[in-house]
Point group: C2
Chain length 103, copies 2
Amino acid sequence: MPRTYAHPDPEDVKLPRVLFALSDPVRLEMVRILADREAVNSLDLGPGMPKSTVTHHTRILREAGVTNTRPEGRNCWISLRRDVLDVKFPGLVDVVLAAGTDT
Amino acid sequence: MPRTYAHPDPEDVKLPRVLFALSDPVRLEMVRILADREAVNSLDLGPGMPKSTVTHHTRILREAGVTNTRPEGRNCWISLRRDVLDVKFPGLVDVVLAAGTDT
DNA sequence: TTTATTGTTCGATAATTCCCGAACATATTG
DNA sequence: CAATATGTTCGGGAATTATCGAACAATAAA
């Protein structure tokens, strides 16, 4: 599958795009799943979801700068880019994670 | 003009919708304008912008629960619903305002 | 090498969103 | 009442987004 994945440089991670990436319930849930763990296999972010749909959402998160995607074998390890997010938008990830699932 | 405006109850203010409302540069700028002041006349939120476009964006902010709209005469005073936002999503508004205009 | 697994890419469709002009409603002012 | 100012509503057109099946590429395993 994937050879390389383009990630925005930290200076290109913009708030509106990040907020948009987080504004979808599906992607918000993905972020919640990622919060606890170091990295997660991409398809595990959307259990029972069509693969192409998972790809769609993970791509939006990645291109917004919210996540990092590291290919390994035929898997994709996805993680939160907290290093970037916590510097550029301190508290944002915490705020989002603090909100309950149904809020 | 307007007689009444529907505002979501605090328990109906949901994070995805709030984040979506904030994910647009135009609306983000509106929120920045609102941050300092107690209330702002609606059309002052979109200087030089078509009125119907201002209405469009202010409606999305209002229906998401981000702003309050109070009609007075033929004006609309718009304000941030910090009372609700700061309780439901503590830190969110601060995070957004802390980010520079170009980030 | 054949098979199975993981994930992407490519349509296609339905739904949403954005932008704005024109017409309208409401309220103030002359 | 007539004229003006503020903001909404309606309509349409362009652009984006969401969802997903089908075909495909790449890797790992048998």
